[in-house]
C-alpha cells in the first residue's frame, strides 16, 4: 500500500510544452477580457505554440525516451515528431484565422484558447503511455474540436456539424472504452508497455477477447482518422465547420489518431500484428476507394477536400498495415507532408471567403489564374502534391508508403492505392482546370493577409523542398521511429 510515485522535477520538465500550451491557452482566456484587438491574442497564441515548439525541439535530440508521471506520460522522439505536426497545424490555423474569423464575426479569445487546448489534447495523446491518459487526451482534443466545429452558432450548418461530430464522437468513444475495458480485463493493466509484456507472458495474443478489444480500438481510432466505414461524419463536419477549423481538423485529429493508432498497435499489440493488419487491409481498401470515388461528385471544395482527406487516410494506413518500423516511418512521413499540402490548400480556400461570399463552390475558382496567378500557382502545386505527382512532397509520401507496403508483401494494396490515386487525380485536376482553363464568371477578390501569406510561403516551400530533397524529412521520420 505504498505510494510509489512522488512528483519530481523531471516530471514537470517533461511536460513543459504541454504546460506552455495550456497556460498560454488560459492566458488567452483572460486576455480576451481586456484586449480589444483580437489579432494580439492570436499572435500570443502563435507565440505560445512557438515556445512549445522550442521546448519540443530542444529535447528532440535526446538519446533515450523518458516516462514520467508514474508511467503515464512518455516523452520520446515519436511523440515529438507528432507534436511538431501539431504545432505546425495550430500555428498555421491561427495564422489563417486572422481575417477569416473576423469575416465570420467570431474572432474571440476562446477560439484561440480552444485551439491550443485541442492541440494540448493531441500532444497528450501522442505522449500517452497509458490507455487511460490516451482516452483523456483524446477527449480533451475531441471536446475542444466539437465546440470549434459548432462555433458559428448562427449558422445552421455549423450547428449541424457540431451535432454530428459530437454524437458520433461520443458513440465512438464508447467503443474505445469498451476496447480499453476488455484489454484491461485480459491483461490487468492499461499501461501500453505492460500490455505488451502481459500479452507475451500470458500468451493471449490469439485470444478472441483481445482481438475484440483491438478491433474496438481500431473502430474508435478509425473514427478519428476517418477510415471507411467510420468516416461518415467527416464530409459533413468538414463542410459545416468554419473553414479554419476544417483545416485544423483535417490535420490535427487525424495525425493524433494515427499517432495513437501507431502507438497502440505497434507497442501494445505488436505481437498481434498479423491480426490487426488483416483487419486494416479491407478498411484501407474501402477508405481509398470510397474517399476517391465520392470526391469525384463533389461541388463544394471543403467537402471534396474532406473526401480527399479520407482517401489520404487510406494511403497512410498502408504504412501501418506493413507492420514494420519502416512502415510506421512511412506513415508519419506521409502525415507531415500531408500537413503542409493540406493546410496550404485550405489556406487558398479560406482566402476566397469574403464578406457576403462563401467561395466554397468549385465554380468559384473559375478563372482564378487570370486575376490571381500567384494564388493559382500555389493551389496548383498543392493540388498536384495531393495527387502525388513529383516533384512535390505528396509524391514522396505516397512513394514511401507504397514502398513499405510492397516490402511487407502487400503489392496488391499498393496497386489499388496507385490506381485510386489516379482516380483522385481527377478531382484535384478539376480545381486546376477551373482555375486555369475556364473564364472567370465574376470578379474574384481574395482576402489576403500577411500571416496567411507566410503560411502559404512555408507550406509551398515545404512541399517543393521535401519533394526534391526528401532526405531532410526522411531522416527525421526515421530518427523518430528508431528512437
Amino acid at each position: 500500500m505504498d505510494v510509489t510515485f512522488s512528483l519530481g522535477l523531471q516530471d514537470i520538465s517533461a511536460i513543459m510544452p504541454e504546460l506552455a500550451m495550456i497556460s498560454v491557452g488560459l492566458l488567452l482566456l483572460m486576455l480576451d477580457l481586456v484586449v480589444k484587438r483580437k489579432e494580439i491574442i492570436a499572435i500570443i497564441g502563435v507565440a505560445g505554440a512557438l515556445v512549445a515548439l522550442y521546448g519540443t525541439v530542444s529535447v528532440y535530440g535526446m538519446s533515450e525516451s523518458q516516462t514520467v508521471f508514474a508511467d503515464m506520460f512518455l516523452l520520446d522522439k515519436y511523440s515529438c515528431f507528432f507534436k511538431i505536426i501539431f504545432y505546425l497545424n495550430v500555428i498555421f490555423t491561427i495564422c489563417i484565422s486572422f481575417k477569416y474569423m473576423a469575416i465570420e464575426k467570431a474572432a474571440f479569445g476562446e477560439y484561440y484558447a480552444l485551439l491550443l487546448f485541442a492541440t494540448a489534447g493531441m500532444m497528450i495523446m501522442a505522449s500517452a503511455a497509458d490507455l487511460m491518459i490516451l482516452y483523456l487526451g483524446l477527449e480533451l482534443m475531441a471536446l475542444s474540436t466539437y465546440i470549434l466545429a459548432g462555433l458559428l452558432r448562427k449558422q445552421a450548418r455549423s450547428n449541424e456539424a457540431a451535432v454530428k461530430y459530437f454524437f458520433l464522437g461520443a458513440f465512438s468513444s464508447a467503443f474505445l472504452l469498451y476496447g480499453i475495458a476488455l484489454t484491461y480485463g485480459m491483461t490487468g493493466t492499461t499501461n501500453i508497455t505492460d500490455i505488451a509484456t502481459s500479452l507475451f507472458t500470458l500468451g493471449i495474443h490469439d485470444s478472441p477477447v483481445m482481438y475484440l478489444g483491438v478491433i474496438f480500438m481500431i473502430v474508435a481510432f478509425g473514427f478519428k482518422v476517418a477510415l471507411v466505414p467510420f468516416h461518415m461524419w467527416a464530409p459533413d463536419v468538414y463542410e459545416g465547420a468554419p473553414t479554419s477549423i476544417t483545416a485544423f481538423m483535417s490535420v490535427g485529429p487525424k495525425a493524433a489518431g494515427f499517432a495513437v493508432l501507431g502507438r497502440v498497435l505497434f507497442e501494445a499489440f505488436g505481437s498481434m500484428q498479423p491480426q490487426w493488419s488483416a483487419v486494416l487491409v479491407p478498411l484501407a481498401i474501402l477508405t481509398m476507394v470510397v474517399g476517391s470515388v465520392i470526391a469525384l461528385a463533389q461541388s463544394n471544395i471543403k467537402r471534396m477536400l474532406a473526401y480527399s482527406s479520407i482517401a489520404h487516410a487510406g494511403y497512410m494506413l498502408l504504412g501501418i498495415i506493413a507492420g514494420t518500423p519502416e512502415g510506421l516511418t512511412s506513415t508519419i512521413n506521409y502525415l507531415m507532408i500531408y500537413t503542409f499540402m493540406n493546410i496550404g490548400a485550405f489556406t487558398i480556400v479560406i482566402m476566397l471567403r469574403r464578406e457576403g461570399f462563401q467561395g466554397e463552390n468549385i465554380e468559384d475558382y473559375m478563372g482564378l489564374a487570370k486575376s490571381h496567378p500567384m494564388a493559382s500557382a500555389l493551389m496548383l502545386i498543392f493540388m498536384f502534391s495531393l495527387t502525388g505527382i513529383p516533384p512535390t512532397a505528396g509524391f514522396i509520401g505516397k512513394f514511401y508508403v507504397f514502398m513499405e507496403a510492397i516490402n511487407a508483401g502487400y503489392t496488391y494494396l499498393a496497386i489499388i492505392a496507385a490506381l485510386f490515386s489516379v482516380v483522385s487525380a481527377f478531382f484535384y485536376l478539376r480545381i486546376v482546370v477551373y482555375m486555369y482553363m475556364k473564364e472567370p464568371q465574376n470578379e474574384i477578390v481574395l482576402t489576403t493577409s500577411g500571416p496567411a501569406g507566410i503560411v502559404l510561403a512555408i507550406t509551398c516551400l515545404a512541399v517543393l523542398i521535401i519533394g526534391i530533397f526528401p532526405s531532410i524529412l526522411l531522416s527525421l521520420a526515421n530518427f523518430s521511429i528508431l528512437g
Binding site: L168, I215, F230, M232, A278, V279
Partner: protein, 644 residues
C-alpha cells in the same frame, strides 16, 4: 569522279530553280536547266565513249547506311547498259527541255516546271547509274516523286491532282514488292551491291525460303518481288492504270517521263537483274506473260480512245509490254534495244501531239486533246504532220525505221522461245496489227479530213514555233535511224552492234532458228503492220461512217474497250472505296470512337456514375452514420473473429 556530275548538274539546277525561281529567276528558268541537262548529256557522251573503249566504272562515293552487317553505299556503276540508258535519258531530256521552252512559255509555274524536270533527270540518272539495289530504289522512288509533281503540275485541276496522287500510290504498290525484294536480296546475299549479288547468284540456286508455310525458291521470290516494282513503274497489268491518267501533266512531261524514260525503269531494272532472273524460269515466264498480255490488252484499249494523248499512252503501255515480253524470253538486249528505239519515236509522238495541242490551245475546254474535234490539221502544221508520219511508220514496224528492227528482234526471239514463246509471238503479232491500226487512226483523225472543231477557232491553228519543231525534227531523225545499230544478222551480218555492245552485261540470247523462219517472222510482222494501216485507211479515209457502225454493232465490246475494261472502276469498287469506307465507318467511327473510346471514356463515366450513386450513401442522417459504424464493426468482428 567527274561522272558524279552527271546527276549532280540537274540536281543543282533543281535547287537553284526551286529556291530562287519564284522570286528572281521566273521565266529565265530554262537558262539554268537547259545548260545543266545539256552538260549531263555531254558528260554522258564522254562516259559512253569511255565505255565503248571498255572502261567500266564502279565506284562507291560514300557509305550511306551502315547498321550492323547492313552496309550500303552511294555508288555508281557505269557499264554498257548504264551507258545506253544515260544516252537515252540525257539526249531525250535535252531535246524535251528545249521543246519545253516553247511549249511552256508563259505558264505561271515556268520555273517550277523546269525545276521538277531537272529533279526528274537527276532521279533518273541516279536510277540508271546506281551500283546497288538500294540506290536504285532511291532513284526509283525519286522519279515517282517527280512524276507526282509533274502530273499534278496544273494542281488547280482536280483531275490533275488526282492523277498525280494516283500515279504515286499505284507505284507504291509496286514499290512495296520491290522494297521487300531488296530486303530479301540482302538477306540472301548479304549485300546489295550489284556485283556481289550477281556474282553470288549461282551459289544460292535451289535455296528455298519458308513463306507462310510454303517452301518457295528464294531466287524466284526475289525476282517476282522485284518484278512487282517493275510492273508498277512500267505500268504493266494490273498496275497500268496510272499511266493513261498521267496524261494530265504537260505534254513534254508525258513525252519525257511517261514514254521515254521513267516508265522504262522497270525494263532497265529487270535487264539489270538479269543474272537473277535468268536463274528462275518461273519468274521469266511471269515477266514474259505479263508483258505479252499487257501488249495486246493495252492495244485493244487504244483502238477506241478519243483523247489523242491517251491513245499514245496506251500505245506506250503496249510497247512496254513488248519490252517485258523480250526480257521474259531472255532477249534482254532486244528489250533494251526496243526501249532505246521506242524512246525516240514515242517521244516524237508525244511531242508531236503536244505540238497539236499547243496549236489548238485556244479550243474550248477539254477539246484540245479530243481527236473527234480535230481533223485536217495537215495543211496547217506540215512539220508536225510529217514527223508524226515518221513516228507512226517507226512504231508500226515499217522496215528500215527504228521500230522495225527492235520489234522484229523481239518477235523473233519470242518465236524461238518454245511453246510459250510461240504463243507470245502470236500475241505480239496481234498487238502489232492493233498498233498499226490505232496509230494510223490517230493520224487520219487528226490530220486528214476536215476540221471538226469549233470553226471559229480554225484560223487560230498554226504551226508551232521553231523551238518546238526543231526538237521534233531531231527526234524524227532518231526515230528513223536509231534502229540501224541493231540490224539483225539475217539482213546484214555483224550489224547487231547494240546486241554485241550489251553482251557483257546482258549476255547473248539463246535459241537458234533457220534463216527461213526468221524471214518469215519478218514478213509476218511487216504484213500485219501494212494490214493494220490499210484497215485504218479504209475506215477513216474511205468509209468514214464505218467506225460508227462497227461501234454500234458491237456496242458491248466497244464500251468495254472505251471504258478501259472498267478496270479503274473495278479498282475503285474493290479497293479504294472499301478501304475508305472501312476506315471511316468501321475503323474510325466504330472501332476507334465506339470501342476504344467507349472503354476509355466509359471507365471514368462508370466511376463517375458510381460516385453519384455512392454519395447517396452519405444521407446526412446521423443515425445512418452510426449504423454504418456499427455494421462496419460487426462485419469486422464477424469476419475476423468468427470466420477465422
Amino acid at each position: 569522279m567527274i561522272y558524279t556530275l552527271i546527276p549532280l548538274l540537274p540536281l543543282l539546277a533543281f535547287i537553284i530553280n526551286i529556291l530562287f525561281g519564284r522570286d528572281y529567276i521566273r521565266d529565265k528558268a530554262h537558262l539554268i536547266a537547259v545548260p545543266a541537262v545539256a552538260g549531263s548529256f555531254l558528260l554522258s557522251l564522254v562516259a559512253f565513249a569511255g565505255v565503248l573503249k571498255g572502261e567500266v566504272i564502279n565506284v562507291n562515293v560514300y557509305s550511306w547506311i551502315v547498321s550492323g552487317d547492313f552496309n550500303v553505299s552511294i555508288g555508281f556503276l557505269i557499264d554498257q547498259l548504264t551507258a545506253i540508258m544515260l544516252m537515252v535519258v540525257t539526249s531525250i531530256s535535252t531535246l524535251i527541255f528545249i521543246y519545253s521552252i516553247g511549249y511552256m512559255h508563259g505558264d505561271k509555274g515556268y520555273y517550277r516546271f523546269f525545276a521538277y524536270l531537272s529533279l526528274f533527270v537527276f532521279s533518273m540518272l541516279i536510277l540508271v547509274m546506281a551500283n546497288n539495289f538500294l540506290l536504285l530504289y532511291f532513284g526509283w522512288e525519286a522519279v515517282g516523286l517527280c512524276s507526282y509533281f509533274l502530273i499534278g503540275y496544273w494542281y488547280e485541276k482536280k483531275s490533275a491532282a488526282n492523277a498525280g496522287k494516283k500515279a504515286f500510290i499505284v507505284n507504291r504498290f509496286g514499290d512495296f514488292g520491290f522494297g521487300l525484294g531488296v530486303i530479301l536480296i540482302f538477306l540472301t546475299f548479304g549485300s546489295l551491291d550489284y556485283m556481289t549479288v550477281f556474282s553470288g547468284a549461282d551459289s544460292v540456286l535451289g535455296q528455298t525460303i519458308n513463306l507462310f508455310g510454303y517452301e518457295v525458291d528464294t531466287i524466284t521470290l526475289i525476282c517476282l518481288l522485284l518484278f512487282c516494282g517493275a510492273v508498277g513503274k512500267s505500268a504493266q497489268m494490273p498496275l497500268h492504270v496510272w499511266l493513261p491518267d498521267a496524261m494530265e501533266g504537260p505534254t513534254p512531261v508525258s513525252a519525257l517521263i511517261h514514254a521515254a524514260t521513267m516508265v522504262t525503269a522497270g525494263v532497265f531494272m529487270v535487264a539489270r537483274s538479269n543474272p537473277l532472273f535468268s536463274l528462275s524460269a518461273t519468274a521469266m515466264n511471269t515477266v514474259a506473260v505479263v508483258g505479252g498480255v499487257t501488249a495486246i490488252f493495252a492495244a485493244t484499249i487504244a483502238l477506241v480512245q478519243k483523247d489523242i494523248k491517251r491513245v499514245i499512252a496506251y500505245s506506250t503501255v503496249s510497247q512496254l509490254g513488248y519490252m517485258f515480253l523480250a526480257l521474259g524470253v531472255g532477249a534482254y538486249s532486244a528489250g533494251i534495244f526496243h526501249l532505246y528505239t521506242h524512246a525516240y519515236f514515242k517521244a516524237l509522238l508525244f511531242l508531236g501531239s503536244g505540238s497539236v495541242i499547243h496549236a489548238l490551245h485556244h479550243a474550248k475546254h477539254d477539246d484540245e486533246q479530243n481527236m473527234e474535234k480535230m481533223g485536217g490539221l495537215k495543211k496547217y502544221m506540215p512539220v508536225t504532220y510529217w514527223v508524226f508520219i515518221i513516228a507512226t511508220l517507226s512504231i508500226t514496224g515499217i522496215p528500215g525505221l527504228a521500230g522495225f528492227f527492235s520489234k522484229d528482234e523481239i518477235l523473233w526471239r519470242a518465236y524461238l522461245g518454245g511453246d510459250l514463246g510461240k504463243f507470245l509471238w502470236f500475241l505480239g503479232v496481234a498487238a502489232a496489227v492493233l498498233t498499226a491500226f490505232y496509230s494510223w487512226r490517230l493520224i487520219y483523225l487528226t490530220f486528214h479530213g476536215s476540221y471538226r472543231g469549233d470553226p471559229e477557232q480554225e484560223h487560230h491553228i498554226h504551226e508551232s514555233p521553231k523551238v518546238i519543231t526543231v526538237p521534233l525534227i531531231i527526234l524524227a531523225v532518231g526515230a528513223v535511224a536509231a534502229g540501224w545499230v541493231g540490224i539483225p544478222p539475217v539482213i546484214l551480218e555483224h550489224a547487231d552492234r547494240i546486241g554485241e555492245f550489251l553482251a557483257p552485261v546482258l549476255g547473248h540470247p539463246h535459241g537458234h532458228g533457220t534463216h527461213l523462219e526468221e524471214w518469215l517472222v519478218i514478213a509476218v510482222s511487216v504484213a500485219v503492220a501494212v494490214i493494220g494501216w490499210l484497215v485504218a485507211m479504209f475506215m477513216y479515209i474511205k468509209k468514214t461512217d464505218l467506225p460508227e457502225k462497227i461501234a454500234s454493232l458491237f456496242k458491248p465490246i466497244y464500251n468495254l474497250l472505251f471504258n478501259k475494261y472498267w478496270i479503274d472502276e473495278l479498282y475503285d469498287k474493290i479497293f479504294v472505296q472499301p478501304v475508305l469506307k472501312a476506315s471511316d465507318r468501321i475503323v474510325l467511327a466504330f472501332f476507334d470512337a465506339k470501342i476504344i473510346e467507349g472503354v476509355v471514356n466509359g471507365i471514368p463515366a462508370l466511376i463517375g456514375g458510381f460516385s453519384k450513386k455512392l454519395r447517396n450513401v452519405q444521407t446526412g442522417f446521423l443515425s445512418n452514420y452510426g449504423l454504418a459504424m456499427a455494421i462496419g464493426a460487426l462485419c469486422i468482428i464477424g469476419v475476423f473473429i468468427f470466420m477465422r
